[in-house]
């Protein structure tokens, strides 16, 4: 009998905890009356554990910084009511199915009008039901196809990678020559990137002498595949994936005597690669995304300083883009006059972009395209004489 009593007590406690948890979570969305303070829950689902955890953390850091800035100012005002931001991050271990169940939870429990997710698989999984469940996807992926499907509530916040193909090709071809060997990461994103680049490369009269891919989660050593690629005497190597293993590929290519240039996929950042190679000399002739810290955008210096103070490292573009992304959405909420109608907020993203104060512009995003992608003033970086130089794509 005693045991039953214990069990009963336990179940009561569990119930109580459950009920409190539920009532806690309903404070989100549009609760509260005029003049009172409200809370807007912003959802995030990304890899916070596992192999890609550091990447997930950095994307989340950008959101955190934007949210803190706004909350420190006392929140933001929509229709006479002041709201603060409550970020609700959930871990999806980089798995699209987890992203989908996280999103369901975020919408049902926390009534999040916007959910950020930093991988294309997650975005595609959410696009299945985001229009029905009524939330905006803050899609951090450079994959052009995520906005080509006509989803009406997807905002692609980073630059699309197809914008890089032309300037990268022109630069590498002019400086080094027409023969390219491709050794990108073996993910779907890597394959799509490769196909876009190589198609354009051939159209410009270039030649593809070797094409393969590297699985960074499985290959212990890259010497074998690089040896094979270099045997074909390429002028340019196309490499990419996470910055650090990509840097190893570049370094090993140099060890094996490669003298040409690199085209670096947008996932890898030159400044992060330099930490692995030890100097920019190894990366001489590399063309890639311009690292945020070298950007001349007005918001960069203060963002860099704050980020350094908080996280003890230089911010990367994943932090910077999430930062400006959240600011754009919050400004859009102000312009739309609502915090819980995703369709209305979506319609006002352009107004949101226009209203971002200069000192918060970590990037220059003049407009959002019809399909829902942020349209950047595209700059890229090249390594010349051991230094990163900013170049402008016309």
């Amino acid at each position: 009998m005693k045991r039953f009593k214990g069990l009963f007590l336990l179940s009561v406690i569990v119930m109580l905890v459950f009920v409190t948890a539920c009532s806690d979570s309903t404070t989100g969305g549009s609760s509260g009356k005029d003049g009172e303070k409200g809370v807007v829950n912003i959802g995030y689902s990304g890899p916070l554990s596992g192999a890609a955890a550091f990447y997930g953390e950095r994307t989340l850091n950008g959101l955190k910084m934007a949210a803190e800035e706004i909350n420190d100012e006392g929140g933001f005002e929509v229709n006479g009511k002041t709201y603060t931001i409550n970020l609700v991050p959930l871990d999806d271990k980089y798995l699209p199915n987890e992203t989908a169940s996280n999103a369901k939870r975020l919408v049902q429990e926390h009534k999040t009008p916007i959910i950020f997710t930093p991988h294309s698989g997650g975005v595609l999984a959410l696009q299945v039901f985001n229009e029905v469940d009524n939330f905006i996807i803050g899609a951090y992926t450079s994959e052009p196809s995520v906005t080509e499907g006509g989803n009406k509530l997807t905002v692609q916040i980073p630059p699309k990678y197809d914008g890089y193909v032309e300037p990268f090709t022109n630069y590498a071809m002019d400086r080094f020559g027409k023969k390219i060997a491709a050794l990108p990461t073996s993910s779907q994103y890597g394959k799509d990137w490769t196909e876009t680049l190589l198609t354009y490369w051939k159209k410009q009269g270039g030649e593809v002498v070797y094409e393969s891919s590297i699985n960074f989660a499985k290959d212990t050593d890259f010497f074998t595949v690089i040896t094979n690629a270099l045997k074909k005497k390429p002028d340019v190597l196309f490499i990419g994936g996470a910055s650090e293993p990509t840097a190893k590929v570049a370094k090993q290519a140099r060890e094996l005597g490669f003298k040409g240039g690199f085209i670096v996929m947008d996932q890898a950042k030159l400044n992060e690669m330099e930490k692995i190679t030890g100097s920019y000399e190894v990366l001489e002739g590399a063309v890639g995304v311009l690292p945020l810290i070298y950007s001349k955008a007005p918001g960069v210096p203060s963002f860099k300083e704050k980020y350094n103070a908080k996280y003890k490292e230089d911010p990367g573009s994943e932090a910077g883009i999430h930062y400006i992304g959240l600011h754009a959405f919050i400004e859009a909420m102000k312009a739309a006059g609502t915090v819980d109608d995703p369709k209305k907020i979506y319609e006002h993203v352009q107004d949101g972009l226009d209203a971002i104060p200069e000192e918060r512009k970590t990037y220059l995003v003049p407009k959002i395209t019809e399909a829902g992608s942020f349209d950047y003033e595209l700059h890229f970086g090249v390594v010349e004489d051991g230094e990163v130089k900013e170049m402008e794509a016309k």
């Binding site: 955890a53 989660a217 499985k218 010497f223 650090e244």
Partner: protein, 288 residues
């Protein structure tokens, strides 16, 4: 011709790493009678230990390796004491679950302590040596030489010393070894010590050519499983030979067939060998 020799060298490098990892795995198989899934995590811990010793405390590469070998070896002993020893009479399934538990624990632990970032292990042996159109780096030569030295030493220890003989005896028959007066508890601890040490050594040698990160154990552990199946579960020469077979099949397969199919080639080889010799190339030491 150049390319063949270069690729043989590449295969030898990677095969040496595989062999060292598989050796530790095969030794512990003799005690647990299941593959130790947590072995990849020990490999990872070894990488982090050496890295920390070098960057935080400024120790020399070799000293850092030595500390890591001892530390991870002791971690192996702790695993044996707190997890596998209490489970020694439980069904093998429990060992498997426990091993996976340790793997997850250690990976999360590494992420908590060192963060999820990729880290680069410095090495004093960064020089590139080119002879006759072949490219070596000192680190790679070091991997090969160190692996061979360790294998010879391990073999001498197991074959020529009394303590080594007790390890083999226990892997053949635990009760029997107990009956003839071998302290099986001590031997089990010793085996885990050596196994952990080998994992730490392998990762400390291989890390400078790759990176140190929480998931690095996965790079080698699956292949080490293939190797010990290929070589015969629990067989020492099987683990060594299996490691090199896999290393060469990867590098040569990638060169002469296709880089995209190099894993398939390795697994086809596994299927073929198991079809001809279902118990692996070498059956377990004592049963021959």
């Amino acid at each position: 011709m150049d390319i063949l020799i270069q690729q043989l060298f590449n295969g030898l490098t990677i095969g040496s790493v595989y062999s060292l990892v598989a050796l530790g795995l095969t030794l512990v198989y003799g005690i647990l009678h299941i593959p130790n899934f947590a072995h990849g995590a020990l490999y990872m811990m070894g990488g982090y230990m050496t890295f920390t010793m070098m960057t935080k405390f400024g120790f020399h590469y070799w000293l850092a390796i030595l500390i890591a070998v001892v530390a991870v070896g002791l971690l192996g002993v702790l695993m044996e004491r707190f997890v596998f020893h209490p489970l020694r009479n439980a069904p093998p399934l429990h060992d498997k679950i426990a091993a996976i538990g340790i793997l997850l624990f250690l990976e999360s632990f590494a992420q908590l302590v060192w963060g999820g970032d990729y880290l680069t292990m410095p090495t004093p042996y960064n020089q590139v040596v080119s002879i006759f159109g072949l490219t070596f780096t000192m680190q790679r030569l070091l991997i090969i030489i160190a692996a061979i030295v360790i294998m010879i030493a391990l073999n001498l220890f197991l074959k020529k010393t009394f303590t080594g003989a007790t390890i083999i005896a226990m892997s053949q028959n635990r009760e029997g070894a107990n009956l003839v007066g071998i302290n099986t508890t001590k031997v089990a601890m010793l085996t885990f010590l050596i196994s952990g040490g080998l994992a730490a050594l392998a990762s400390s040698l291989a890390s400078p050519i790759n990176l140190v990160f929480p998931g690095m154990g996965h790079l080698v552990i699956l292949k080490a499983f293939v190797i010990i199946i290929l070589g015969g579960m629990g067989s020492i020469p099987g683990a060594i030979l299996g490691g090199y077979i896999l290393g060469f099949s990867e590098s040569l397969g990638a060169t002469y067939i296709s880089n995209d199919y190099k894993d398939i080639i390795a697994f086809i080889l596994l299927v073929l060998i198991l079809t001809i010799k279902p118990t692996g190339l070498f059956v377990k030491g004592g049963h021959t």
